[in-house]
Symmetry: C2
Subunit: 193 residues, 2 copies
Amino acid sequence: MPRAGLTPQLVTGHALEVLDEAGPAGLTLKAVAERAGVAAPSLYKHVRSLDDLRVLMAIRILTEAADRLGTSVMGLAGDDALRAFLAAFRGYAAQYPHRHSLLESPPQGGDRQAELDAAAGQLVEIAFATVRGYGLRGDDLVHAVRAIRAMVAGFVGLELGAGYLLPTDLDASFAFLTDLLTAGLAQRAAATP
Amino acid sequence: MPRAGLTPQLVTGHALEVLDEAGPAGLTLKAVAERAGVAAPSLYKHVRSLDDLRVLMAIRILTEAADRLGTSVMGLAGDDALRAFLAAFRGYAAQYPHRHSLLESPPQGGDRQAELDAAAGQLVEIAFATVRGYGLRGDDLVHAVRAIRAMVAGFVGLELGAGYLLPTDLDASFAFLTDLLTAGLAQRAAATP
DNA sequence: GCATGTGGCTAATCGCCATAGCTTTATGGC
DNA sequence: GCCATAAAGCTATGGCGATTAGCCACATGC
């Protein structure tokens, strides 16, 4: 019986594939083990529990999303950067719809809370960078980042969760939301002494 | 052995109490049955499955929230109405933090999809009513409602899910978001021919 | 008083997480 | 090359929760 040569990273990768294909409800240790070519209990040599695996997955997703958003806003400033940020976030969620569920209901990180927070922090840092150009100061900067995250996470959550039932075009609604945000931040910045 | 006299409505009520106290992970048929003073399998006489129960709960939550938001915006117009709507939504979520999880990940309604959509529709109708006063036309009205829902759902989701880690005051961020929304809609309406 | 339908119960199955303890592989020192 | 050891995998097992099957008692209409 040859060895499979698993590592926590590889297990996390297989788990992400299972999540992408079978959704949150289909994310089971048995399914992950099967994909890894191993019996279910063997996974415990690499991962502490199913919840722990979820944390590893969330860290990976956050890091991957941060990389992607980072490159997509790179070289842009002001409204262009913010638009790119929002579009890239929505694009990532559209490509991997099930991953969003893992970000919405954050598994308690336990031992890995610091790592999890750091990964989330990467993403938040990018949001800060895109907003910095507006000239907001102090707490307004934080408020703006929170507003951006709320809007985009909320829109994506409702879009993926079939919360938007009317036939009106979703892209147009997203554009409306984007305009609302860019215009609002610009105006707020203009009113800042 | 006397009868417990359960109905689907009563079971749903007990289930909501369990959810409020134990969270989504603690929502188990056994826990609901215990609270109802009955053995677990007896619940199947009133509810088709755990998922079905979740649908009933979601319908109840949506209806209850719609009632609450409806009365809180009643008699108000324009910015006042919108502010009241947003605050009431956040207030409901703060009072029953775990219920939000049921709205974020909508259980597929199955048989009761129509009922579920109708309950969601009540809430959306109230959002429409609060926005109508801004003088937006056609699709912009839908976009505005979607923007409102995205913002408030996103903010509440991040707030409850510990997505906002910085020490900056959350009430102030919510006020910032509210201002952004009211100002944005007013401006958009002013630009409408 | 009795027939009937319905609410509730116990027993049993199934799937999944998790633990225990054994076996085998790979690797490092000699 | 040979053995000791730690790590990786396996099978067996326990336990819990959802769900189904089949039985029995209560309550209502006659």
